[in-house]
């Protein structure tokens, strides 16, 4: 067993894990944050995407011990209850989710995409989401949602605008 400390959604945790424990298993099984999903075993589907120190990573590809000292944000910590992040609001408005299983990973990837490129074209959104598989939506409404969220977030960050989606 290895002892590690990490922050998850702004809360500190000191946990003992087997060295082989994946970050996603720590989140889901020990910390019971089941919003982060597992859809494959080859780092292809992106359902397990979370932020580690502000960047989107696939938590099935990282050992829990590698997250020692890190700050992790999962879908549960993206926005305070009752105040959805503009990306969550846009997915709802645009019908960007059906079964909901890829959704947390998709939202965590899409928010990181906008951090890197706040004003993406449709093509840039499509390429930016290439690490996330969705089997329900054909991506059509996911792409619309990301473009809508980008617009809302740019508008909010304009001169004199109130801050939204304060998680970062």
């Amino acid at each position: 067993m290895a002892s590690i400390t990490l922050k998850v959604n702004d809360r500190s945790h000191a946990v003992d894990v087997e060295p082989r424990t994946l970050l996603v298993d720590l989140l889901r099984e020990q910390l019971r944050l089941t919003g982060t999903h597992v859809g494959c075993d080859t780092s292809q589907c992106g359902a397990c995407t979370v932020w580690v120190d502000g960047r989107a990573i696939k938590s099935c590809t990282m050992l829990a011990v590698e997250a020692d000292g890190a700050a992790v944000t999962t879908i549960e910590g993206l926005a305070p209850e009752g105040h959805p992040h503009p990306m969550q609001a846009a997915f709802h408005d645009c019908h960007g989710l059906q079964c909901g299983y890829c959704t947390p990973g998709m939202v965590m990837s899409a928010t990181d995409l906008l951090r890197q490129n706040p004003n993406p074209t449709e093509d840039e959104v499509r390429h930016g989401l290439e690490g996330n598989l969705c089997r329900c939506t054909g991506y059509h409404n996911i792409v619309r949602a990301v473009l809508q969220a980008a617009e809302v977030m740019r508008a909010a960050q304009g001169p004199g605008a109130a801050e939204v989606g304060g998680a970062r």
């Binding site: 919003g35 859809g39 549960e76 019908h95 909901g100 598989l133 329900c136």
Partner: protein, 791 residues
């Protein structure tokens, strides 16, 4: 129109929990004392199991049980049943081999479960599994259809000579031969419909709990139809009566058919829970899913089309081999027969049709329904044939379709292959799609693509499908072992809010929203005051689940029938309260009104009176306001439409990019256009996936080569364009709302349109045929072969 009722694009109720990470999927659930199961699966496609030594595994830390097929047999568990029996041409029944939950004596496909290990944690179970020694004697195996029917082929089952499960036919052979005898032209085609994996992003999972205190079993499972699983567990596999079984299908992360079927793991976790005294959970890994979730399609077909000199279809003759895999999955034999060959008339007038279908066993994962289930195979055949006929007869591809489509005044239309289509307007959807794709200016776009070194192609498909399964008596006569009605309970609460209990199951389709819209429309209750409950056999009286685009057409109709009963009762209560005759009470917009007056009682007032019956017709009307209904459909529904696709092919690399998709569907009356469009989008993505990317590739020894998301290619966001979806509505004539169904249209209509577009793009290079998936390598080789190069 009620802004939250029929026809409104209301945003979904279910979104909130999914967007904040609070969905409740089967694997999310940890029961007190939870233990974990893993399975050892056969690495061989076909092997005798000589011995299993689990001595070391049983002693490993945390291990509670190591179980084999012999343990299953000793405890008297039944096998996994097949839900549909096919009658052969000669009147005999199909070969129906046993399907033990854990392989007994022989393993018959790579992935066949052989040993179950239960331990306190998943890591302990996995560690212990590595200590189990299984001595296999590999046997000759067969994976592919042509090899399986070749003389001297290895037999999957001793009782199935030539590996034939069934040899079935439909249609009038003599009438069809007569049409071929006088045909001006005959066009023939050989096609492979590629084997695909459903790949819902949520892997299957099952968590079983036996309660010793109550002698009662609870199963949480990733199922599209929990009541059907209860029925099969109760009657066949676990053999425990239904009142001792509760099946819960909580949030389910996509199904696409693969979660219809009763799988061995569902039985085994319940059985193991009783043996170890703790809840037992199994969650599939993706590589395991490829080897244990039923696959789809896998047909090899030869077809001949007889035409007259004007290009009118006169006769169709089809021979199909359909891969069943190693065991018969729940609905497997029905897919290539009653869900496929009965659609061979398509949207066309074809006076005579005859089709023969052989179901063939192979040493592969069982094959069953995947989104579309039989109808994509038939649509692909007809639409490839239509294009080939147009080319060979020198007729325009749109014209040959227009000339042969069933006309509006021909409905109801009886096909030569059993089905009677109630209504449609196929010319309208054809015109609508052509206008959307702007075919008139295709030549300009083609020239523009050419400047960039790309070959542009246009492809079209006009399709029909049969949904809303199904009239129980009809499917019973055809071999189904269950009824296919749907059930609903509508509970009106004292303050007028409503809970709907539906036997259908939503795993992405948005029933919590659309069914609430149905209720809001009919009862005038606010959308936010309605909750839809699904997926729990202890809460919902009965149900047959969700597949075949049936939920709105059949499940929605059951809800409407239950609401009719509520309104009837409400009229009696209102008549009493308003001191009027029942015959004079009208109900609309949530108000019971004495006809021709302004005297009225709201729906909420009537509900309150029903539960607080102080002033109430208590002698003739019971208190309470709740009713149930079972709805058995009168016919199938027949969604139809036209799908148009443009592709660009890079002749240097063979890469195909879909650049435009414009479709026009007639899915009947629409409850929520936003959700209907979303269903079409998802189906299109899977249809394009089948056409260009997806294939379960087996080698000759029966090893699955494309067994992970790294080797099985599915469309990603950058592979697809925005989709343009149009609807032209003709209301279904035989259900109360006029709904036909939308879940599968994309997967059915678009694959041939994509391939027809690829062949159109490649026509100048002399390429006339390609099989799905049209991968870059396959396209490149086809170009090289046509150009006389070394392919």
């Amino acid at each position: 129109m009620n802004s939250e009722g029929m026809g409104a694009s209301v945003a979904r109720k279910e979104d909130r929990r999914f967007l904040i990470g609070k969905g409740r999927y089967t694997d999310d659930l940890q029961l007190p004392g939870q233990t974990t199961a893993v399975f050892l699966r056969s690495p061989h496609a076909h092997a005798a199991i000589r011995s299993i030594d689990a001595t070391a595994a049983r002693k490993a830390p945390g291990v509670l049980a190591v179980l084999t097929g012999e343990d299953v047999a000793a405890d008297g568990l039944g096998g996994i049943p097949c839900g549909w029996q096919i009658t052969n041409k000669d009147g005999s029944k199909m070969v129906e081999p046993p399907h033990p939950a854990l392989a007994l004596g022989k393993a018959r496909h790579a992935g066949d479960p052989v040993v179950m290990v239960v331990a306190q944690t998943k890591a302990q179970a996995k560690d212990a599994a590595q200590l189990v020694e299984i001595d296999y004697e590999p046997l000759p195996a067969v994976a592919h259809l042509p090899a399986a029917v070749a003389s001297g082929a290895p037999r999957v089952w001793d009782e199935a000579a030539g590996n034939v499960c069934f040899d079935w036919h439909i249609g009038d052979s003599a009438a069809t031969e007569a049409e071929f005898g006088k045909a001006a032209r005959v066009v023939s085609i050989d096609l492979v419909n590629n084997r695909i994996a459903p790949n819902a992003i949520e892997p299957r999972a099952a968590n079983g709990f036996y309660d010793y205190a109550l002698d009662h079993y609870t199963l949480y499972t990733t199922s599209q139809n929990p009541h059907l699983i209860r029925l099969l567990l109760g009657a066949f596999s676990l053999k425990v009566p239904e009142h001792k079984l509760r099946i819960v299908a909580p949030d389910v992360g996509g199904g696409f058919g693969s979660k219809i079927f009763h799988y061995a793991e569902e039985l085994l976790v319940l059985w193991a829970s009783k043996r170890v005294g703790f809840p037992v959970k199994w969650t599939s890994e993706r590589s395991e899913a490829f080897l244990s979730d039923a696959h789809g399609r896998d047909h090899v077909t030869h077809a001949d089309l007889a035409l007259d000199a004007d290009g009118r279809f006169r006769g169709l003759r089809v021979r199909t081999l359909a891969n069943m895999g190693a065991y018969l999955s729940s609905f497997a034999p029905a897919i290539p027969t009653y869900l496929s060959a009965t659609l061979l008339s398509g949207p066309y007038v074809i006076p005579a049709i005859y089709s023969e279908v052989k179901g063939i066993f192979t040493n592969t994962v069982p094959v069953d329904a995947v989104r579309g289930a039989g109808r994509p195979e038939t649509t692909y055949l007809l639409e490839r044939l239509a294009d080939k006929a147009a080319r060979e007869l020198g007729i325009d591809r749109v014209e040959i379709r227009r000339k042969n489509l069933i006309q509006v005044d021909q409905f109801p239309y009886q096909t030569p292959v059993a089905l009677q289509y109630d209504i449609g307007d196929y010319q309208a959807t054809l015109d609508m799609a052509l206008q959307a794709i702007d075919l008139d200016h295709f030549a300009e776009r083609k020239a523009e693509s050419e400047k960039r070194g790309k070959l542009r192609g246009f492809g079209i498909s006009t399709y029909i499908e049969a949904c809303g399964i199904a009239p129980s008596a009809l499917v019973g006569a055809l071999g189904a072992r269950a009824g296919l009605y749907e059930a609903a309970t509508v509970r009106v609460h004292p303050t007028g809010s409503v809970t709907v209990f539906t036997g259908t199951h939503s795993h992405g389709q948005g029933h919590e929203t659309t069914f609430a819209q149905l209720v809001s429309e009919q009862l005038g209750v606010p959308f936010d005051s309605i909750e839809v409950v699904h997926g729990d056999t202890d809460r919902i009286p009965f149900g047959m689940g969700t597949y075949g685009s049936r939920s709105a057409a059949v499940g929605g109709s059951a809800i409407v029938k239950a609401m009719d009963k509520i309104v009837d009762k409400g009229k009696k209560i209102a008549a009493h309260l308003l001191e009027a005759s029942v015959a004079d009470i009208e109900f609309s917009d949530g108000k019971f009104r004495v006809a021709g007056t302004d005297r009225e009682k709201s729906f909420g007032e009537v509900a309150f009176a029903a539960y607080v019956p102080h002033n109430y017709p208590i002698d003739t009307v019971e208190p309470g306001l709740e009713d149930s209904a079972f709805y058995d459909p009168k016919n199938f529904t027949f969604p139809a439409g036209c799908h148009c696709v443009e592709v660009e092919v890079d002749p240097e690399t063979g890469v195909v990019q879909v650049v435009d998709v414009a479709i026009a569907d007639d899915v009947g009356v629409i409850i929520n256009p936003m959700i209907v469009d979303g269903q079409a989008h998802g189906g299109l993505a899977q249809g394009i996936g089948q056409a260009l990317y997806e294939e379960c590739v087996y080698d000759d020894s029966g090893q699955l080569l494309s067994g992970s998301f790294m080797s099985y290619c599915m469309p990603r966001a950058a592979d697809l364009p925005m989709f343009r979806v149009g609807n032209h509505v003709t209301a279904c004539t035989h259900n109360p709302v006029g709904i036909k169904g939308v879940g599968e249209v994309g997967a059915i209509g678009v694959p041939p349109a994509v391939i027809n577009a690829v062949l159109d793009a490649l026509a100048p290079l002399g390429v006339t045929h390609i099989d799905m998936p049209a991968t870059p390598e396959k396209v490149w080789r086809a170009i090289q072969a046509a150009q006389g190069g070394a392919a």
